[in-house]
Each structure stands twice: as C-alpha cells, then as structure tokens.
Symmetry: C2
DNA sequence: CTGAAAGCGCTAACAA
DNA sequence: TTGTTAGCGCTTTCAG
C-alpha cells in the first residue's frame, strides 16, 4: 500500500474493485471490451472514492494533453472577447480545455507565451494576426504544434490563416461612401504599429480611394488607440480638414467620433458620415445606429477551434479560410449634402 | 539511444552536455549548487537542441501544475472580460498559466467544468458568484483545490469570497436618487434566476427604498437579459407606471434605457433619471454620461489571482475581501422636476 | 557538487 | 476478456 497524501489514484480504484489498473484505465477510456459486471464494479469504486484521473499523467502516457491554447492581444477589446468566447465553447464541446494567455500587443512576450504553450503540450494554438517574431514561428514549426493565425486573412502568409481580408473589407466601405457622393474622406485608424489588421484597413482604404481617383492625404489620417476618449480628441482636427465622411478603424473609435460630433453639434450623418468596423452589438442600438463592417467574430472563433482540432485528430494540415465580411448600412452614413 | 518521434527530452540534453538528467533538472530549476562550467554546458545543450521541458511530466513529478483555472458565465459581458484580463495578467506575472472555461450560466455544466479543472490539476480556481451545486462545492472541498468565489461578497458564504457587496452598493444608488427628490422609482434588473448578483442588486434596491419609506411594486420591476434591445423594449412599460427614476441592474441595461428614452423623446435626466451598474469605459462617454456604480473589475481580478496564488504557495487559507464600490455621479441623474 | 535509481499516475503492448 | 509490465519525461532522495 502506497502512502498518498491527498487524492485517490487508479491503484486505489483497482484495489477496491479487485481488478488491475489496466482494466480501470479501459473503463475510464470507454474501451468496449470490458465485461459488464467488471465494468460496473470499477464504476462503483470510482464513484465511491470520488476518483478523478490525473490529466498530467495521462498526457504523459498518451502524448496528448486535451488542451488547446489561445494567445490574444487583450480581452478588453470586446471583439476579441467574443471570438474567444466562441473558441472556448467549440473547444469545450469537442472535449478540449482552453489555456488562455494575453500578450498585450508585445511580440516579445508573445514569444514567451508560445514557448509556454508548447511546454504545456497544447495540441493546437490560436494566434492573432500575421505579425510574429521569427523565433516564434520557428518554435512553432519545429514543435509541430498545429496553429492558426486569426482575424486576418493573408493568402501570402506562411502559417494557416482563418480570418477575413481586412483590406478588401474597406473597399466596400469606400465604395459605399463614394457612391453617396463623398469626395472628402478621412480616416481615424487604429494604431498600426504591431498591428497588421489596423494597417491593412488603412492601406485598403487608401488604395480603394485611389481607385476612385481620390486621395487620403496625411492630414486626414489620424491613428488612435482603442479608446473612445482618444478618438474624441482626434475628431476636431480631422473635421478642420474639410472632410464629409470618416472611416474608422473599429467601432469603438467610431463611437468616439460619433459622440464627439454630437457634442460639437455636428450632425451625423447630415454633416458627417461615419463608418465603423466590427459591428459590436451596441452599434446597432446607437442613435443613429452605426453603419459598420460586420465581421463574424463568433464564426471565426468557432471555425478556428474546429479546424484546429480536426487537424490534430486527423493529423492533417489546416486549410486557411477567408471569412466573409459585410457592410451593414445603418444611420450614420447618408448622401453628401455638398 | 531511445527512439524519439518529435521533441528532444532531458535525456538528449544530458547526453549532449555529458551530464546526468538530474543535473539538467537542477540547471532548469535554478538550483544554486551546480558548478558554473557544468551549468554552462547544460545551457548550451538546451539552447542547441531547443529543448523545452514537458510541463505534464513535471507536474506529475512535482505534484504542482503551475496553472490556475477560472470558470465564468460568459466572456461576452465586458465586465467579466475585464476581470479575467486582469486575472490572467496577474497569474502570468506570478508564473502561472490560466485555464479558462465558460459555463453559460449553467450550474450543471459548471460542475463538469470544475471536475475537469481538478483533473487538470489547477492549483487555484476562480468561480463567479456564490451560487453553486452542492456537489461542486464538495468536489472542491475534498480535492482541496484552493478556490475563490468572486463578484459577490457574502459574509455568510462558506467559500472564500473576493468581491463587493451587491446589495450595499444599491444603497448608495437609492440614497442618491432619493436625495435628488425622486419618489417614483423603478428597476430594470438583470435576470435574477441563477444569478445571485442580480438578485442582490434587486433586493438591495428594494430594501433601501423601504428604508426611505418607499415602495418598489411589482409593476415597476422588470427583469431583462444582458441585452440592449431587450432593455429598450422594457422601457415604455416601465415609464407608463409614472416613474421619474430608473435603477438598472447593469450598464448595458442602462444603455438600452437611455437610448430608448432618447428615441422616445423622453429627456434624460430632466424627465427620467437613470443609474447603471459596472461603469464600463463607454459609460463616461455617452451623451449624457451615465451615472453608475463603479466596481473595480480589474482590481478584483488582480486581487483574486494574488490571493489564490499566495494561498497556494504558503499553503494557507484565503482571506475573503469585500472590495469597495463607488457611485459615480454623472449626467443621467438630476433633481426631480415634479 | 554530481550521478544513480526510484517513482509521480497513467496507458499500451504483450501475454495469458 | 483481463493482468503484467514497461515506460511517458521529469524530479528527488540517497550515495559517492
């Protein structure tokens, strides 16, 4: 008899049930070839001892941890929270637990976190964006941990991508605005440093404007962090450049612009059209409701979990997916009255 | 020489460095008694092989997993996302990884998730609220996994609590409103079933109104889910009961009330005062800015992680903490003009 | 200061 | 169908 400090082990169950540990293992793992009476004795013993298998030991023996990891920039951004919520749900339904880490937009930290995830034996890993350290990528490559880069779809990326085309999405936005007669357009972008999604949105906007023969001069571009108050502060300056429409890098920035415009008595959409990006649930409820780009964060989280886990289970590669985005025309955009 | 499919193990490092695995282990764990030249050889070997220690094996040997768990109702609620963000950050800084699971307000599912967390060997566990299955609690008790119930402080609860007094917080709200001359007060509460926080807020409001000799009749209480649109729908009915002030179970509900009132041309705060709960970052930015109860979600997540991990490391008990909450008076409340 | 060896709790051949 | 026996990769006495 071994000395055990706390929890019962398989050995205890085996003793109580009068079988070998192998049999206990078989029962736990649902092996079909255990006779009913034996199976019952084992299950009773498990019940009586309140035995819980040790996941670490099992991972060691099977070389499979039953966990997936996710490393995201922050959870304070509603759209990431929503995506992770879906990712967790899908993983859970497929029998996997989620190890979550937040990188705070720090690629150096992200690298450490990836290393940690590999040590923990995650079978799949979700990352955000396509910008990562060289070292991080090589770590992933030689550990052969399945991984997907999400939120951004880039056909040229080396790692599997599940996300949407941030640049292309802006084409719809620009086309919409130009179609409404707007010619003087500005952009309140998210911080583009260390954020390829924000950069693509800016680039996409610029390119599509050019396509229409329009310019996006530097004075009409302001980058702000994910913050309503900082977005508000930037609006007045942008307005002074004579714009009639404003493209925002995300919904939160758009909220700032809208609220500040209203405070400045600038009528939206009559004097200024505003377009957001993300389509947070609040956006449809504002007065006026925000015209924005809907991205399926939930669908993305869901698809990522399923793709990752399927790839693990079939030891196949992950197919990249370019998810659709959709411009939702609501009340903050209208014909240019000028 | 063993056959290895994928990753290098300690044995490989030991061979390459010409030492025993015990020495490799010592170097990894920063044992001071390894001579410098040997230590260097080992570190070089680790570097060259890109060796990563196997967390599962280590957990098995040390009986410590280096993980903490958190089970929350949802991540779609911004205030939980914020709390978990802080919890993760603090845990990470203390060297622990986070295993996160979402219960979708389902106590049955929560029970399964707790079981899973114990199997995974989490050293500490964060739960939300004080309402849990009997079985869940006993599981926790006999596994002796440290745990805290958060978001709600209840002096009578059996498990350690780190949160705020949801009922007491409403006293400030009611006092504020009554002090402004309001006598006809209604409440747009969150769903109280399976949610002790929402229930406490409702009870606290009712009690404090009684204290002032005021009533909260059933027709002035409406429960709605965490949703702006459902909150909006409920407003008209509430307004028809002749209220001059509305207490909301959370900020999102308050947004709905505010936006709907504005749409109905009911002036806030002149004709209707509104108070929220949570103080999400958006609340201060609305027009008018929302009067609400500030709860330190970040502080709570942070305190929970620190308390949990400290208790684990000193194998001591967790001290419950009643965190302060603060009424933030902004623009949605004013003197009763009646 | 370093090495040898015995597990940690579980699973997976291989026998029986 | 069930038991026996090696490990999975790491840490940790205990010797030397």
């Amino acid at each position: 008899m071994k000395s055990r400090s706390s929890m019962p082990t398989q050995i205890d169950v085996a003793e109580l049930a009068g079988v070998s540990t192998a049999t206990v293992s078989r029962v736990i793992n649902g092996s079909s070839d255990v006779k009913q009476p034996v199976r019952q004795r084992v299950q009773d013993a498990i019940e009586r001892l309140q035995y819980l298998p040790h996941a670490g030991a099992r991972a060691l023996a099977t070389r499979r941890s039953g966990t997936v990891g996710a490393i995201i920039p922050t959870l304070s951004n509603a759209i990431f929270a929503e995506g992770i919520n879906a990712f967790e749900r899908a993983s859970q339904e497929l029998g996997y637990s989620l190890i979550l880490a937040v990188s705070h937009q720090d690629l150096q930290l992200e690298d450490k976190l990836v290393k940690n995830m590999i040590e923990r034996g995650v079978e799949g890993l979700l990352l955000v964006g396509n910008e990562h350290n060289e070292h991080t990528l090589s770590l992933l490559a030689q550990s052969s941990v399945r991984h997907v880069c999400t939120w951004a779809y880039d056909a040229t990326a080396s790692a599997p991508n599940i996300g949407f085309d941030n640049a292309l999405a802006m084409h719809d936005v620009v086309d919409h605005l130009v179609g409404l007669g707007h010619r003087q357009i500005g952009m309140l972008a998210g911080l583009t440093q260390f954020n390829d999604r924000a950069l693509k949105r800016l680039d996409g906007t610029r390119q599509r404007l050019l396509h229409h023969g329009l310019n996006l001069p530097p004075e009409r571009i302001v980058e702000v962090p994910y913050s309503i108050s900082e977005s508000r502060e930037a609006l007045a300056g942008l307005l002074s450049t004579g714009i009639t429409a404003l493209v925002c890098g995300n919904d939160v920035i758009a909220y700032g612009a809208l609220l500040e415009a209203q405070k400045m008595q600038v009528s939206v959409p009559d004097e200024l059209s505003i377009v957001g990006f993300d389509d947070l649930s609040l956006s449809a409820e504002l007065n006026p409701p925000l015209t924005t780009v809907h991205v399926g964060a939930t669908a993305m989280g869901d698809a990522s979990a399923k793709a990752l886990i399927q790839a693990v289970q079939q030891s196949s590669a992950i197919a990249s997916q370019c998810l659709p985005t959709r411009l939702v025309q609501r009340g903050t955009t209208s014909f240019c009255h000028c």
